[in-house]
């Protein structure tokens, strides 16, 4: 007489899988960020013993004033006229750097708007501005002090 073996069915309990999955989704949704992972970049010169000196007449001086208006090489200029002006200067000297100075009382948004316009040079005028320098107030004061201006 043969004994009939009992069939034991193996199974994995998956009843709570949906709960765990939804909890994971909620966690990722709450803690993750999608926007604001891009921005305007600028490279700072590597630390070296000899700092290249840029004379004001060798560069294009863009000054953002307190009210957000602009002065380029000392002359008032609207934002949309900057790139054509820079293009003329770059035709004479493609290495000409641009110095972007901003009044401390101006807003950050005003400065970014000008910086963004200058960075669009390759697309809009077909020429790259090789150096865009953003000196800080301390650096500007140091330069003035060098020339004996208080």
């Amino acid at each position: 007489m043969k004994l009939q073996k009992k069939k034991i069915e193996s199974e994995i309990f998956t009843g709570s899988m949906a709960d765990i999955s939804f909890l994971l989704i909620i966690y990722f949704m709450v803690t993750s960020v999608f926007s604001a992972t891009r921005g305007l970049d600028f490279q700072l010169p590597k630390a070296s013993t000899s700092t290249p000196e840029i004379k004001q007449e060798d560069s294009i001086d863009v000054h953002v004033l307190q009210d957000g208006s602009l002065k380029v090489d000392g002359k008032p200029m609207p934002l949309d006229q900057i790139l054509p002006y820079v293009a003329d200067k770059l035709k004479q000297n493609p290495d000409k750097p641009v110095i972007l100075r901003t009044d401390p009382e101006a807003t950050y948004g005003d400065m970014i708007q000008v910086f963004d316009t200058l960075r669009q040079a390759p697309d809009r005028i077909g020429m790259e501005i090789k150096t865009i320098s953003i000196p800080t107030q301390r650096e500007i004061q140091n330069v003035w002090a060098l020339f004996g201006v208080q």
């Binding site: 899988m17 949906a18 999955s21 939804f22 994971l24 989704i25 990722f28 949704m29 803690t31 993750s32 960020v33 999608f34 926007s35 604001a36 992972t37 891009r38 921005g39 305007l40 970049d41 600028f42 490279q43 700072l44 590597k46 630390a47 953002v64 901003t102 009044d103 401390p104 009382e105 101006a106 807003t107 950050y108 948004g109 005003d110 400065m111 970014i112 708007q113 910086f115 963004d116 960075r119 669009q120 953003i134 800080t136 107030q137 301390r138 650096e139």
Partner: protein
């Protein structure tokens, strides 16, 4: 007539849930791949720009609110407020000493005075930071109109 009534009572309503697990797992995979921890939750109105480049995932953050409150994070932990410009310099110097090529992100409100951002930039320059990103949102044609 009575037969018809009897039949309509026996209709059971059910929602098909067999594909739910697949959808949920797809969503989880998507979130895992795109996961990016927010180290700074300062509410700022970012400036909008046409030119934007990708920011490295492990970049250090310095946020400047409209009122000029500065918070810093090395990119690993949540941001902490700092009291003075010297503290920003100390923070940046420590980060650069640990990782010389570390990228710094300045997340500033577009309405903040440039003076606040200038001081942060100055601290980063003094700390010999190499790459700085100015966080921005994408500018669109509607923004120019």
């Amino acid at each position: 007539m009575s037969v018809l009534r009897e039949r309509s009572r026996n209709v059971e309503a059910s929602i098909f849930t067999a594909s739910m697990a697949d959808i949920v797992f797809l969503l989880i995979v998507f979130f895992v791949l795109t996961y990016n921890v927010q180290v700074d939750r300062t509410q700022v109105q970012l400036p909008k720009t046409w030119v934007r480049t990708d920011i490295p995932k492990d970049a250090a953050f310095i946020s400047v609110s409209k009122e000029g409150v500065i918070r810093v994070s090395s990119g690993k932990e949540m941001s902490l407020p700092v009291g003075s410009d010297e503290e920003v310099l100390t923070f940046a110097s420590n980060v650069v000493a640990e990782t010389p090529d570390k990228a710094f992100v300045i997340k500033a409100d577009k309405g903040t005075k440039y003076d606040h951002v200038d001081k942060v930039l100055d601290a980063l320059k003094q700390a010999k930071a190499r790459v700085i990103y100015l966080l921005s949102e994408q500018k669109t044609v509607e923004d120019t109109n």
